[in-house]
């Protein structure tokens, strides 16, 4: 499996990379009801929804580790399969492997995919620099903070140059201040290495800060509620009146706060 991003050859129209059209049911509980959307290449799509509405299930299905009850997720018109396609996932909980040092952790995907040793070492160093964790290569997870662990998870996700990157509330377990810092960080990282991202969160402010486009889900069973394109220039200003208006509008329109 070669590592490499999909190269567009000067196409003007944004290519629709991923098509999603799924429903999911556990026993008799319907969790996702007719979720259908497309993800354009290199866009930062944010999915917003209230807590417990099945966002993590959506994330799992998008990454291929869970199967939908009906429908499918396709990437370049192929049904998504982690064994074939180059996908990365940043989990909500800290997902660093406890017995790996940082460098071993971030290069895990490359090793699984069978990359050459030199490539592994080189890319590993690159992504550690990308997430600003230089100097911590030989540290174990128990020696670093929660924010740093998530950075490692992001580095690991980036290391394989994925075609599709899913993040499921990656900053949810961090304290408020670290969260703000990480939002800035993730924008910086994404600008440096553009990837197709689906970012899941329940925080509207975060969504407006990060997204090219926002999809709002309803409460359980989750349905598509509304969709927004955010045209504000990056990096965005949390205190900017336009920002605040957009945020208020979305909040009101989608009745997220009851």
């Amino acid at each position: 499996m070669e590592i490499g991003s999909f190269h567009r050859l000067g196409a003007k129209m944004a290519t629709q990379l991923v098509h999603v059209n799924i429903s999911k049911k556990y026993s008799n509980v319907e969790v996702l009801n007719n979720i259908a959307f497309n993800v354009e290449e290199n866009e930062f799509l944010v999915v917003v929804g209230p807590t417990g509405c099945g966002k993590t299930t959506l994330g799992n299905i998008l990454s291929g580790i869970e199967k939908p009850t009906s429908g499918q997720v396709t990437i370049r018109d192929e049904v998504i399969d982690p064994h074939i396609h180059n996908i990365s996932y940043v989990f909500q909980e800290p997902s660093c492997i406890p017995w790996y040092t940082m460098i071993q952790d971030v290069t895990m995907g490359l090793v699984i995919r069978g990359a050459a040793k030199e490539e592994v070492a080189k890319r590993g160093k690159e992504v550690i620099k990308l997430v600003d964790m230089v100097g911590f290569e030989d540290y174990y997870p128990w020696q670093i903070s929660g924010g740093m662990k998530q950075r490692v998870a992001i580095a690991r996700a980036y290391a394989t140059n994925p075609d599709f990157l899913i993040m499921d509330e990656p900053f949810g377990h961090l304290d408020a201040q670290t969260r703000y810092l990480m939002q800035i960080e993730i924008m910086r990282i994404w600008e440096q290495e553009k990837k197709t991202v689906v970012f899941i969160t329940n925080n509207i402010e975060e969504a407006v800060y990060l997204a090219s486009r926002i999809i709002v889900l309803s409460k359980l069973p989750a349905r598509m509620k509304c969709e927004y394109t955010i045209d504000l220039p990056r990096p965005r200003d949390l205190t900017d009146p336009q920002f605040l208006r957009t945020r208020a509008e979305i909040t009101k329109e989608c009745e997220i706060v009851e």
Binding site: P82, Y89, F91, E93, I97, P98, W99, Y100, I112
Partner: protein, 263 residues
């Protein structure tokens, strides 16, 4: 002096102090009791020296007894690991199979090794009897801990590998096994301790001249308390050291585990 060094000195120091305290209490009590069945520390020491220098009433030295028992313990313990770890892993990965065989496995767990002695005498011969009885003691802690540890593998770690498209063999060897290794090590340590405790029961079978259990039983027949106590102390001290060494090895191998502090 670093904090760590200071703490180490304090730990060792307090332990030694408490041992001395016990020694003082023992001496007071033995002098107050003045009975041959509660020997003084000097009597115990003399008995120890006697056993090391001249051996027991059959001229078998203390070292020979210890070695004989150690060999039996390690044989039984090795057998328990060889059977318990793979079986625990296999049944842990296939919980349905475990659930369906519980009626066979669980009752055996509760039969104490001593109860197996009559069968061991009749069905087995010589060294294999000890291996069997000690295996019985050590097997279940190792097996059950291994089994339980598989169920406790963090699904997140498995998912991380799955998202990268890892094959099943990678998940088992690179995710499951390193996850369960610390728990297996704990199970092994517990199993070794129990194996050591079974040695007296195993050596009650008779027919053997050497062994720390046999030593205690010999002197029990002669009602000689000092030597009995020496035997008991030898068993306790060796067990203690085995445990400590195990812990040190565990800590080194599993450096990646965080040290949980209560204060």
């Amino acid at each position: 002096m670093t904090e760590k060094r200071k703490e180490l000195f304090k730990t060792v120091g307090y332990n030694i102090l408490s041992l001395i305290g016990v020694g003082i209490l023992w001496t007071l009590f033995s002098h107050w009791q003045h009975s041959p069945f509660f020997p003084t520390l000097t009597a115990i020491w003399k008995a120890f020296v006697g056993l090391v220098e001249h051996g027991d009433v059959e001229q078998i030295g203390l070292g020979a007894h210890i070695w004989a028992s150690l060999v039996r313990i390690f044989a039984g313990f090795a057998a328990a690991c060889l059977l318990g770890i793979p079986l625990g892993l296999a049944l842990g990965l296939k919980p349905k199979l475990y659930n369906r065989t519980r009626a066979i496995l669980e009752p055996v767990r509760f039969i104490p090794p001593i109860a197996w002695i009559p069968m061991a005498i009749v069905l087995l011969v010589g060294f294999s009897r000890y291996v069997f009885l000690i295996w019985l003691g050590a097997f279940f802690p190792i097996f059950i801990t291994t089994l339980m540890s598989v169920t406790r593998v963090n699904p997140i770690h498995v998912n991380v590998a799955k998202v990268f498209g890892a094959p099943r063999s990678y998940i088992i060897w690179k995710i499951v096994i390193p996850s369960v290794l610390p728990d297996i090590a704990t199970g092994m340590r517990v199993g070794l301790g129990i194996a050591w405790m079974c040695i007296v029961a195993a050596e009650m079978i008779g027919g053997e001249m050497m062994g720390v259990g046999r030593l205690i039983l010999k002197y029990a027949e002669l009602i000689r308390m000092p030597e009995i106590i020496v035997g008991m102390l030898v068993i306790g001290i060796i067990g203690f050291f085995m445990n400590e060494v195990f812990i040190i090895v565990e800590r080194w191998i599993f450096r990646w585990r965080s040290e949980v502090s209560i204060d």
